[in-house]
Protein backbone atom coordinates (compact mmCIF):
# COMPACT_ATOMS: atom_id res chain seq x y z
CA UNK A 1 0.00 0.00 0.00
CA UNK A 2 1.48 3.33 -1.09
CA UNK A 3 1.08 6.40 1.13
CA UNK A 4 3.21 9.22 -0.31
CA UNK A 5 4.76 11.29 2.48
CA UNK A 6 4.15 14.65 0.78
CA UNK A 7 0.36 14.23 1.07
CA UNK A 8 -2.07 14.67 3.96
CA UNK A 9 -4.86 12.20 4.68
CA UNK A 10 -8.35 11.92 6.18
CA UNK A 11 -9.32 8.85 8.17
CA UNK A 12 -12.15 8.38 5.65
CA UNK A 13 -9.42 7.49 3.08
CA UNK A 14 -9.13 10.68 1.03
CA UNK A 15 -5.75 12.25 0.32
CA UNK A 16 -5.07 15.97 0.04
CA UNK A 17 -2.28 17.67 -1.97
CA UNK A 18 -1.82 21.36 -1.20
CA UNK A 19 -0.88 24.00 -3.73
CA UNK A 20 -1.29 27.42 -2.17
CA UNK A 21 -4.95 27.81 -1.31
CA UNK A 22 -6.09 24.86 -3.44
CA UNK A 23 -6.36 21.25 -2.29
CA UNK A 24 -6.37 18.43 -4.85
CA UNK A 25 -8.30 15.47 -3.43
CA UNK A 26 -8.43 11.78 -4.32
CA UNK A 27 -8.83 8.44 -2.59
CA UNK A 28 -5.89 6.47 -1.24
CA UNK A 29 -4.25 3.36 -2.62
CA UNK A 30 -5.64 1.48 0.39
CA UNK A 31 -9.16 2.69 -0.42
CA UNK A 32 -9.02 1.80 -4.12
CA UNK A 33 -7.66 -1.65 -3.25
CA UNK A 34 -10.51 -2.24 -0.81
CA UNK A 35 -13.12 -1.10 -3.36
CA UNK A 36 -11.82 -3.19 -6.23
CA UNK A 37 -12.55 -2.30 -9.87
CA UNK A 38 -14.05 1.20 -10.03
CA UNK A 39 -16.70 1.38 -12.74
CA UNK A 40 -18.56 4.65 -12.17
CA UNK A 41 -17.83 8.00 -10.51
CA UNK A 42 -20.28 10.74 -9.61
CA UNK A 43 -18.52 14.05 -8.96
CA UNK A 44 -19.91 17.33 -7.54
CA UNK A 45 -20.76 20.41 -9.61
CA UNK A 46 -17.99 22.96 -9.98
CA UNK A 47 -18.85 25.91 -7.73
CA UNK A 48 -20.53 23.83 -5.04
CA UNK A 49 -19.54 24.73 -1.48
CA UNK A 50 -18.65 21.73 0.66
CA UNK A 51 -17.98 21.42 4.40
CA UNK A 52 -15.37 19.15 5.86
CA UNK A 53 -16.90 15.68 6.33
CA UNK A 54 -19.75 16.37 3.89
CA UNK A 55 -20.53 13.72 1.28
CA UNK A 56 -19.36 15.21 -2.03
CA UNK A 57 -18.95 12.31 -4.48
CA UNK A 58 -19.81 8.66 -5.04
CA UNK A 59 -17.44 6.00 -6.32
CA UNK A 60 -19.04 2.79 -7.52
CA UNK A 61 -17.02 -0.39 -7.78
CA UNK A 62 -18.40 -3.61 -9.24
CA UNK A 63 -19.60 -4.66 -5.81
CA UNK A 64 -20.69 -1.48 -4.06
CA UNK A 65 -21.38 2.26 -4.09
CA UNK A 66 -19.22 4.28 -1.66
CA UNK A 67 -19.67 7.85 -0.46
CA UNK A 68 -16.63 10.11 -0.65
CA UNK A 69 -16.34 12.93 1.89
CA UNK A 70 -14.78 16.36 1.61
CA UNK A 71 -11.58 16.23 3.69
CA UNK A 72 -11.52 20.05 3.85
CA UNK A 73 -14.12 22.81 3.55
CA UNK A 74 -14.27 25.09 0.52
CA UNK A 75 -15.54 25.55 -3.01
CA UNK A 76 -15.20 22.92 -5.73
CA UNK A 77 -12.92 24.61 -8.29
CA UNK A 78 -12.45 21.70 -10.68
CA UNK A 79 -13.41 18.06 -11.14
CA UNK A 80 -11.52 15.32 -12.99
CA UNK A 81 -13.56 14.88 -16.17
CA UNK A 82 -11.26 12.09 -17.35
CA UNK A 83 -12.91 9.79 -14.79
CA UNK A 84 -16.12 9.96 -16.80
CA UNK A 85 -14.65 7.75 -19.50
CA UNK A 86 -11.88 6.12 -17.49
CA UNK A 87 -13.06 5.51 -13.92
CA UNK A 88 -10.38 2.80 -13.65
CA UNK A 89 -7.77 5.60 -13.30
CA UNK A 90 -8.75 5.57 -9.63
CA UNK A 91 -7.39 2.02 -9.41
CA UNK A 92 -4.33 2.44 -11.59
CA UNK A 93 -3.23 5.95 -10.52
CA UNK A 94 -4.92 6.79 -7.23
CA UNK A 95 -2.45 9.63 -6.51
CA UNK A 96 -2.15 10.83 -10.12
CA UNK A 97 -4.62 10.58 -12.97
CA UNK A 98 -7.27 9.27 -10.57
CA UNK A 99 -7.65 12.56 -8.64
CA UNK A 100 -11.27 13.56 -7.98
CA UNK A 101 -11.67 17.30 -7.28
CA UNK A 102 -9.84 20.53 -6.49
CA UNK A 103 -11.19 22.48 -3.55
CA UNK A 104 -10.45 26.18 -2.92
CA UNK A 105 -9.84 26.16 0.83
CA UNK A 106 -12.10 28.26 3.03
CA UNK A 107 -10.39 27.40 6.32
CA UNK A 108 -6.66 26.67 6.23
CA UNK A 109 -6.87 25.88 9.94
CA UNK A 110 -8.55 22.57 9.12
CA UNK A 111 -5.36 21.26 7.56
CA UNK A 112 -3.90 20.66 11.00
CA UNK A 113 -6.46 17.97 11.70
CA UNK A 114 -5.44 15.87 8.69
CA UNK A 115 -3.11 12.90 9.19
CA UNK A 116 0.43 12.55 7.92
CA UNK A 117 1.36 9.45 5.93
CA UNK A 118 2.57 7.44 8.93
CA UNK A 119 -0.52 8.20 11.00
CA UNK A 120 -2.84 7.37 8.08
CA UNK A 121 -1.03 4.11 7.34
CA UNK A 122 -1.39 3.11 11.00
CA UNK A 123 -5.09 4.02 10.99
CA UNK A 124 -5.78 2.13 7.75
CA UNK A 125 -3.92 -0.99 8.87
CA UNK A 126 -6.02 -1.10 12.05
CA UNK A 127 -9.15 -1.04 9.92
CA UNK A 128 -7.75 -3.80 7.77
Amino acid sequence: MKTPTELRYAESHEWVALDGGTATVGITDFAQDQLGDVVFVELPEVGRRVSRGEQMAVIESVKTASDIYAPVSGVIEAVNDALDGQPELINSEPYGGGWLVRIGLSDAGELGSLLDAAAYAASASEEH
Binding site: G36, D37, V39, F40, E42, V62, A65, E88
Partner: protein, 357 residues
Protein backbone atom coordinates in the same frame (compact mmCIF):
# COMPACT_ATOMS: atom_id res chain seq x y z
CA UNK B 1 -18.74 -19.79 20.34
CA UNK B 2 -15.99 -18.98 17.86
CA UNK B 3 -16.98 -20.52 14.56
CA UNK B 4 -14.02 -20.41 12.15
CA UNK B 5 -14.75 -19.99 8.48
CA UNK B 6 -14.73 -23.19 6.49
CA UNK B 7 -12.11 -23.63 3.80
CA UNK B 8 -12.22 -25.42 0.48
CA UNK B 9 -9.26 -27.68 -0.44
CA UNK B 10 -7.99 -24.75 -2.55
CA UNK B 11 -7.74 -22.15 0.24
CA UNK B 12 -3.93 -22.06 0.19
CA UNK B 13 -3.89 -22.00 -3.61
CA UNK B 14 -6.12 -18.91 -3.57
CA UNK B 15 -3.89 -17.15 -1.06
CA UNK B 16 -0.79 -17.95 -3.12
CA UNK B 17 -2.47 -16.35 -6.15
CA UNK B 18 -3.07 -13.17 -4.15
CA UNK B 19 -6.84 -13.55 -3.99
CA UNK B 20 -8.99 -11.12 -2.05
CA UNK B 21 -10.71 -13.58 0.28
CA UNK B 22 -14.19 -12.90 1.70
CA UNK B 23 -16.67 -14.77 3.85
CA UNK B 24 -19.41 -16.38 1.77
CA UNK B 25 -21.94 -18.84 3.16
CA UNK B 26 -19.59 -19.70 6.02
CA UNK B 27 -16.62 -20.31 3.70
CA UNK B 28 -13.55 -18.21 3.08
CA UNK B 29 -13.78 -17.77 -0.69
CA UNK B 30 -11.95 -15.72 -3.35
CA UNK B 31 -13.87 -12.58 -4.35
CA UNK B 32 -11.31 -11.87 -7.06
CA UNK B 33 -7.66 -12.41 -7.89
CA UNK B 34 -5.11 -9.83 -8.97
CA UNK B 35 -6.73 -9.29 -12.38
CA UNK B 36 -9.89 -7.92 -10.71
CA UNK B 37 -13.57 -8.68 -11.27
CA UNK B 38 -13.96 -6.88 -14.62
CA UNK B 39 -10.96 -8.57 -16.24
CA UNK B 40 -11.97 -11.97 -14.86
CA UNK B 41 -15.46 -11.45 -16.25
CA UNK B 42 -14.14 -10.59 -19.72
CA UNK B 43 -11.75 -13.55 -19.62
CA UNK B 44 -14.71 -15.90 -19.24
CA UNK B 45 -16.60 -14.17 -22.09
CA UNK B 46 -13.57 -14.36 -24.40
CA UNK B 47 -11.17 -17.03 -23.11
CA UNK B 48 -11.21 -19.53 -20.26
CA UNK B 49 -11.78 -18.88 -16.55
CA UNK B 50 -11.45 -21.33 -13.67
CA UNK B 51 -13.60 -21.08 -10.54
CA UNK B 52 -13.41 -22.92 -7.24
CA UNK B 53 -17.02 -23.66 -6.34
CA UNK B 54 -16.28 -26.39 -3.82
CA UNK B 55 -18.47 -24.57 -1.29
CA UNK B 56 -21.54 -25.76 -3.20
CA UNK B 57 -23.50 -28.58 -1.54
CA UNK B 58 -23.84 -32.08 -3.00
CA UNK B 59 -26.70 -34.24 -1.78
CA UNK B 60 -27.22 -37.81 -2.93
CA UNK B 61 -30.74 -39.21 -3.23
CA UNK B 62 -30.63 -42.94 -3.81
CA UNK B 63 -33.03 -45.87 -3.58
CA UNK B 64 -35.87 -47.56 -5.51
CA UNK B 65 -38.21 -44.58 -4.90
CA UNK B 66 -35.61 -41.87 -5.67
CA UNK B 67 -37.26 -40.79 -8.94
CA UNK B 68 -40.80 -40.72 -7.53
CA UNK B 69 -39.55 -38.84 -4.50
CA UNK B 70 -37.66 -36.17 -6.45
CA UNK B 71 -40.61 -35.75 -8.81
CA UNK B 72 -42.61 -34.80 -5.72
CA UNK B 73 -39.90 -32.80 -3.96
CA UNK B 74 -38.58 -30.70 -6.89
CA UNK B 75 -40.29 -28.53 -9.50
CA UNK B 76 -38.67 -29.88 -12.66
CA UNK B 77 -39.19 -33.53 -13.62
CA UNK B 78 -36.12 -35.71 -13.00
CA UNK B 79 -38.06 -38.64 -14.47
CA UNK B 80 -37.38 -37.08 -17.89
CA UNK B 81 -33.60 -37.44 -17.39
CA UNK B 82 -31.61 -40.26 -18.87
CA UNK B 83 -28.77 -41.43 -16.60
CA UNK B 84 -25.79 -39.17 -17.25
CA UNK B 85 -27.93 -36.07 -17.73
CA UNK B 86 -28.82 -33.19 -15.45
CA UNK B 87 -31.45 -30.46 -15.20
CA UNK B 88 -31.91 -27.09 -13.51
CA UNK B 89 -34.58 -27.37 -10.84
CA UNK B 90 -35.98 -25.79 -7.68
CA UNK B 91 -37.00 -26.96 -4.23
CA UNK B 92 -40.43 -25.61 -3.24
CA UNK B 93 -41.51 -24.85 0.32
CA UNK B 94 -45.06 -25.30 1.62
CA UNK B 95 -46.05 -21.67 1.09
CA UNK B 96 -45.49 -21.11 -2.63
CA UNK B 97 -41.86 -20.01 -2.38
CA UNK B 98 -38.50 -21.76 -2.63
CA UNK B 99 -36.03 -23.35 -0.24
CA UNK B 100 -33.33 -23.27 -2.93
CA UNK B 101 -32.63 -23.62 -6.61
CA UNK B 102 -30.75 -26.75 -7.64
CA UNK B 103 -29.06 -28.74 -10.32
CA UNK B 104 -30.22 -32.37 -10.33
CA UNK B 105 -28.08 -35.04 -12.02
CA UNK B 106 -29.37 -38.52 -12.69
CA UNK B 107 -26.37 -40.76 -12.12
CA UNK B 108 -28.22 -44.06 -12.36
CA UNK B 109 -31.80 -45.34 -12.61
CA UNK B 110 -32.32 -44.82 -8.87
CA UNK B 111 -29.38 -42.55 -8.06
CA UNK B 112 -29.35 -38.75 -8.16
CA UNK B 113 -26.89 -36.05 -7.16
CA UNK B 114 -28.48 -32.75 -6.16
CA UNK B 115 -26.23 -29.67 -6.20
CA UNK B 116 -27.41 -26.95 -3.82
CA UNK B 117 -26.26 -23.46 -2.88
CA UNK B 118 -23.73 -23.45 -0.04
CA UNK B 119 -25.83 -21.16 2.11
CA UNK B 120 -28.85 -23.47 1.77
CA UNK B 121 -27.27 -26.92 1.85
CA UNK B 122 -28.15 -27.65 5.48
CA UNK B 123 -31.77 -26.59 4.91
CA UNK B 124 -31.98 -28.60 1.68
CA UNK B 125 -30.67 -31.75 3.38
CA UNK B 126 -33.03 -31.33 6.34
CA UNK B 127 -36.05 -30.73 4.12
CA UNK B 128 -35.29 -33.63 1.77
CA UNK B 129 -34.68 -36.00 4.68
CA UNK B 130 -37.97 -35.00 6.34
CA UNK B 131 -39.90 -35.26 3.10
CA UNK B 132 -38.32 -38.64 2.17
CA UNK B 133 -39.62 -40.31 5.34
CA UNK B 134 -42.41 -42.14 3.49
CA UNK B 135 -40.27 -43.07 0.44
CA UNK B 136 -37.94 -46.00 -0.11
CA UNK B 137 -34.84 -43.85 -0.66
CA UNK B 138 -32.04 -42.18 1.29
CA UNK B 139 -30.82 -38.59 1.38
CA UNK B 140 -27.10 -38.28 2.09
CA UNK B 141 -25.08 -35.06 2.41
CA UNK B 142 -21.86 -35.65 0.45
CA UNK B 143 -20.73 -32.00 0.43
CA UNK B 144 -17.55 -32.63 2.39
CA UNK B 145 -16.41 -35.45 0.11
CA UNK B 146 -16.84 -33.60 -3.19
CA UNK B 147 -14.78 -30.71 -4.57
CA UNK B 148 -16.16 -28.75 -7.52
CA UNK B 149 -14.41 -26.60 -10.12
CA UNK B 150 -15.98 -24.69 -13.00
CA UNK B 151 -14.00 -24.22 -16.22
CA UNK B 152 -15.93 -21.64 -18.22
CA UNK B 153 -15.52 -19.75 -21.45
CA UNK B 154 -15.46 -20.27 -25.21
CA UNK B 155 -11.94 -21.71 -25.01
CA UNK B 156 -12.84 -24.32 -22.38
CA UNK B 157 -13.49 -27.30 -24.71
CA UNK B 158 -10.16 -26.87 -26.49
CA UNK B 159 -8.22 -26.41 -23.25
CA UNK B 160 -9.77 -29.40 -21.54
CA UNK B 161 -9.71 -31.51 -24.70
CA UNK B 162 -5.91 -31.39 -24.67
CA UNK B 163 -5.86 -33.00 -21.22
CA UNK B 164 -8.20 -35.96 -21.81
CA UNK B 165 -8.36 -38.81 -24.29
CA UNK B 166 -12.10 -38.43 -24.75
CA UNK B 167 -13.84 -36.48 -27.50
CA UNK B 168 -15.50 -33.65 -25.57
CA UNK B 169 -17.39 -32.64 -28.71
CA UNK B 170 -19.68 -35.57 -27.93
CA UNK B 171 -20.48 -34.24 -24.46
CA UNK B 172 -23.81 -32.43 -24.79
CA UNK B 173 -25.13 -29.55 -22.71
CA UNK B 174 -26.22 -30.79 -19.22
CA UNK B 175 -24.62 -34.20 -19.82
CA UNK B 176 -21.88 -35.80 -17.72
CA UNK B 177 -18.85 -37.87 -18.57
CA UNK B 178 -16.29 -39.63 -16.37
CA UNK B 179 -12.75 -38.93 -17.60
CA UNK B 180 -9.20 -39.22 -16.35
CA UNK B 181 -7.12 -36.05 -16.15
CA UNK B 182 -3.43 -37.04 -16.00
CA UNK B 183 -4.27 -40.08 -13.92
CA UNK B 184 -6.93 -38.33 -11.79
CA UNK B 185 -10.53 -39.55 -12.18
CA UNK B 186 -13.06 -36.72 -12.40
CA UNK B 187 -16.67 -36.33 -13.50
CA UNK B 188 -17.26 -33.64 -16.12
CA UNK B 189 -20.60 -31.96 -16.57
CA UNK B 190 -21.19 -29.62 -19.50
CA UNK B 191 -22.86 -27.00 -17.35
CA UNK B 192 -22.12 -23.66 -15.78
CA UNK B 193 -23.44 -20.42 -14.36
CA UNK B 194 -21.84 -17.93 -16.72
CA UNK B 195 -23.76 -18.08 -19.99
CA UNK B 196 -20.69 -19.49 -21.74
CA UNK B 197 -19.75 -22.97 -22.86
CA UNK B 198 -17.80 -24.87 -20.24
CA UNK B 199 -17.60 -27.65 -17.74
CA UNK B 200 -18.13 -28.27 -14.10
CA UNK B 201 -15.66 -30.77 -12.70
CA UNK B 202 -16.60 -32.98 -9.74
CA UNK B 203 -13.61 -34.53 -8.01
CA UNK B 204 -12.20 -35.80 -4.74
CA UNK B 205 -11.08 -33.02 -2.38
CA UNK B 206 -7.59 -34.57 -2.23
CA UNK B 207 -7.27 -34.14 -6.02
CA UNK B 208 -8.48 -30.55 -6.12
CA UNK B 209 -5.07 -28.84 -5.90
CA UNK B 210 -3.57 -31.05 -8.64
CA UNK B 211 -6.43 -30.47 -11.08
CA UNK B 212 -6.63 -26.74 -10.28
CA UNK B 213 -2.90 -26.36 -10.95
CA UNK B 214 -3.10 -28.46 -14.11
CA UNK B 215 -5.88 -26.29 -15.57
CA UNK B 216 -4.09 -23.04 -14.70
CA UNK B 217 -0.89 -24.38 -16.28
CA UNK B 218 -2.91 -25.21 -19.41
CA UNK B 219 -3.93 -21.57 -19.71
CA UNK B 220 -7.09 -21.00 -17.65
CA UNK B 221 -7.24 -17.81 -15.55
CA UNK B 222 -8.44 -17.98 -11.95
CA UNK B 223 -11.78 -16.21 -11.40
CA UNK B 224 -13.56 -15.40 -8.15
CA UNK B 225 -17.10 -15.10 -6.85
CA UNK B 226 -17.30 -11.45 -7.94
CA UNK B 227 -17.03 -12.37 -11.62
CA UNK B 228 -19.27 -15.39 -11.05
CA UNK B 229 -21.98 -12.98 -9.89
CA UNK B 230 -21.63 -10.45 -12.73
CA UNK B 231 -21.46 -13.28 -15.29
CA UNK B 232 -24.60 -14.98 -14.05
CA UNK B 233 -26.45 -11.67 -13.91
CA UNK B 234 -25.42 -10.69 -17.45
CA UNK B 235 -26.46 -14.17 -18.63
CA UNK B 236 -29.86 -13.71 -16.99
CA UNK B 237 -29.54 -16.43 -14.34
CA UNK B 238 -31.18 -15.99 -10.93
CA UNK B 239 -29.36 -16.11 -7.60
CA UNK B 240 -31.11 -17.54 -4.56
CA UNK B 241 -31.59 -14.84 -1.92
CA UNK B 242 -32.04 -12.22 -4.66
CA UNK B 243 -34.39 -13.23 -7.49
CA UNK B 244 -35.57 -16.44 -5.81
CA UNK B 245 -36.52 -16.50 -2.14
CA UNK B 246 -38.75 -18.18 0.41
CA UNK B 247 -41.57 -15.87 -0.63
CA UNK B 248 -41.06 -15.46 -4.38
CA UNK B 249 -43.30 -17.58 -6.59
CA UNK B 250 -41.21 -18.93 -9.49
CA UNK B 251 -44.31 -18.93 -11.72
CA UNK B 252 -44.14 -15.11 -11.68
CA UNK B 253 -40.52 -15.11 -12.93
CA UNK B 254 -38.78 -15.79 -16.26
CA UNK B 255 -37.87 -19.19 -14.77
CA UNK B 256 -41.44 -20.49 -14.70
CA UNK B 257 -40.40 -23.04 -17.39
CA UNK B 258 -38.77 -25.07 -14.62
CA UNK B 259 -42.14 -25.80 -12.99
CA UNK B 260 -43.79 -28.83 -14.53
CA UNK B 261 -47.52 -29.50 -14.27
CA UNK B 262 -47.51 -32.50 -11.92
CA UNK B 263 -48.12 -33.24 -8.26
CA UNK B 264 -45.40 -31.65 -6.10
CA UNK B 265 -44.84 -30.51 -2.54
CA UNK B 266 -46.49 -27.14 -1.93
CA UNK B 267 -48.32 -27.14 -5.26
CA UNK B 268 -51.59 -25.81 -3.83
CA UNK B 269 -49.84 -22.70 -2.49
CA UNK B 270 -47.80 -22.09 -5.65
CA UNK B 271 -50.08 -23.04 -8.52
CA UNK B 272 -52.01 -20.54 -10.65
CA UNK B 273 -50.81 -17.38 -8.88
CA UNK B 274 -52.25 -13.93 -9.55
CA UNK B 275 -48.71 -12.53 -9.97
CA UNK B 276 -49.52 -9.00 -8.80
CA UNK B 277 -45.81 -8.39 -9.39
CA UNK B 278 -43.50 -10.06 -11.88
CA UNK B 279 -39.73 -10.49 -12.00
CA UNK B 280 -38.27 -8.70 -15.02
CA UNK B 281 -34.93 -7.72 -16.51
CA UNK B 282 -34.02 -4.02 -16.57
CA UNK B 283 -31.49 -2.21 -18.72
CA UNK B 284 -30.70 1.39 -17.78
CA UNK B 285 -30.88 3.75 -20.76
CA UNK B 286 -29.05 6.47 -18.83
CA UNK B 287 -25.82 6.12 -16.89
CA UNK B 288 -26.03 4.46 -13.51
CA UNK B 289 -25.85 1.16 -11.67
CA UNK B 290 -28.95 -0.43 -10.18
CA UNK B 291 -28.32 -2.18 -6.85
CA UNK B 292 -30.35 -4.59 -4.73
CA UNK B 293 -33.06 -2.76 -2.81
CA UNK B 294 -33.23 0.33 -5.07
CA UNK B 295 -36.78 1.39 -5.92
CA UNK B 296 -38.21 1.06 -9.42
CA UNK B 297 -40.41 3.96 -10.56
CA UNK B 298 -42.99 4.23 -13.32
CA UNK B 299 -43.00 7.00 -15.95
CA UNK B 300 -44.85 9.27 -13.52
CA UNK B 301 -42.27 8.70 -10.77
CA UNK B 302 -44.46 6.47 -8.58
CA UNK B 303 -42.76 3.48 -6.92
CA UNK B 304 -43.76 0.24 -8.67
CA UNK B 305 -41.12 -2.25 -7.57
CA UNK B 306 -37.67 -3.08 -6.28
CA UNK B 307 -34.34 -4.22 -7.71
CA UNK B 308 -33.19 -7.71 -6.64
CA UNK B 309 -29.69 -7.69 -8.25
CA UNK B 310 -27.84 -5.13 -10.30
CA UNK B 311 -24.48 -4.33 -11.81
CA UNK B 312 -22.74 -2.41 -14.54
CA UNK B 313 -22.49 -5.00 -17.30
CA UNK B 314 -18.74 -5.44 -17.78
CA UNK B 315 -19.37 -6.33 -21.42
CA UNK B 316 -21.90 -3.71 -22.55
CA UNK B 317 -21.16 -1.08 -19.84
CA UNK B 318 -24.91 -0.60 -19.23
CA UNK B 319 -26.56 -0.75 -15.85
CA UNK B 320 -28.47 -4.06 -15.75
CA UNK B 321 -30.51 -5.88 -13.17
CA UNK B 322 -33.53 -7.88 -12.13
CA UNK B 323 -36.52 -6.31 -10.39
CA UNK B 324 -40.00 -7.15 -9.20
CA UNK B 325 -42.51 -4.72 -10.75
CA UNK B 326 -46.27 -4.43 -10.99
CA UNK B 327 -47.68 -6.94 -13.44
CA UNK B 328 -48.95 -4.34 -15.92
CA UNK B 329 -45.43 -2.86 -16.27
CA UNK B 330 -43.66 -6.16 -16.92
CA UNK B 331 -43.84 -6.17 -20.74
CA UNK B 332 -40.48 -5.90 -22.53
CA UNK B 333 -40.06 -2.37 -23.86
CA UNK B 334 -41.89 -0.72 -20.96
CA UNK B 335 -40.16 2.50 -19.91
CA UNK B 336 -39.42 2.66 -16.19
CA UNK B 337 -36.79 4.27 -13.97
CA UNK B 338 -34.56 3.21 -11.10
CA UNK B 339 -34.17 5.59 -8.17
CA UNK B 340 -30.45 6.04 -7.59
CA UNK B 341 -29.49 8.42 -4.76
CA UNK B 342 -32.76 10.30 -5.14
CA UNK B 343 -32.56 10.62 -8.94
CA UNK B 344 -34.83 8.78 -11.40
CA UNK B 345 -32.51 7.09 -13.91
CA UNK B 346 -34.31 5.87 -17.05
CA UNK B 347 -34.58 2.13 -17.62
CA UNK B 348 -36.38 -0.25 -19.95
CA UNK B 349 -37.84 -3.70 -19.35
CA UNK B 350 -35.84 -6.25 -21.35
CA UNK B 351 -35.77 -10.00 -21.75
CA UNK B 352 -32.50 -11.44 -20.32
CA UNK B 353 -29.79 -12.44 -21.18
CA UNK B 354 -28.36 -8.93 -21.16
CA UNK B 355 -25.09 -9.54 -22.99
CA UNK B 356 -26.36 -10.93 -26.31
CA UNK B 357 -28.58 -7.96 -27.24
Amino acid sequence: MFDPMKRTPLFEAHEELGARMVEFAGYSMPLHYQAGINQEHLTVRQGVGLFDVSHMGEVRVVGPAATTFLQYATLNDPGRLKPGRGQYSMLPNATGGLIDDLFVYREGADDYLVVANASNTAAVVRHLQDLAAGYDCHVIDESDTVALLALQGPGAPLLLGQLVDDDLGQLKRNATLDVVLSGIPVRLSRTGYTGEDGFEIFLRPTDAVSVWSMLLAAGASPCGLGARDTLRLEAGFPLYGHELTETSNPLCTPFAWVVKDKEFFGRAAMWDPACATRLIGLRLTERGIPRQGYRVLDAAGAPVGEVTSGALSPLTRDGIGFAWVSRELAEPGTELAVEIRGQAVAARVVQPPFHLA
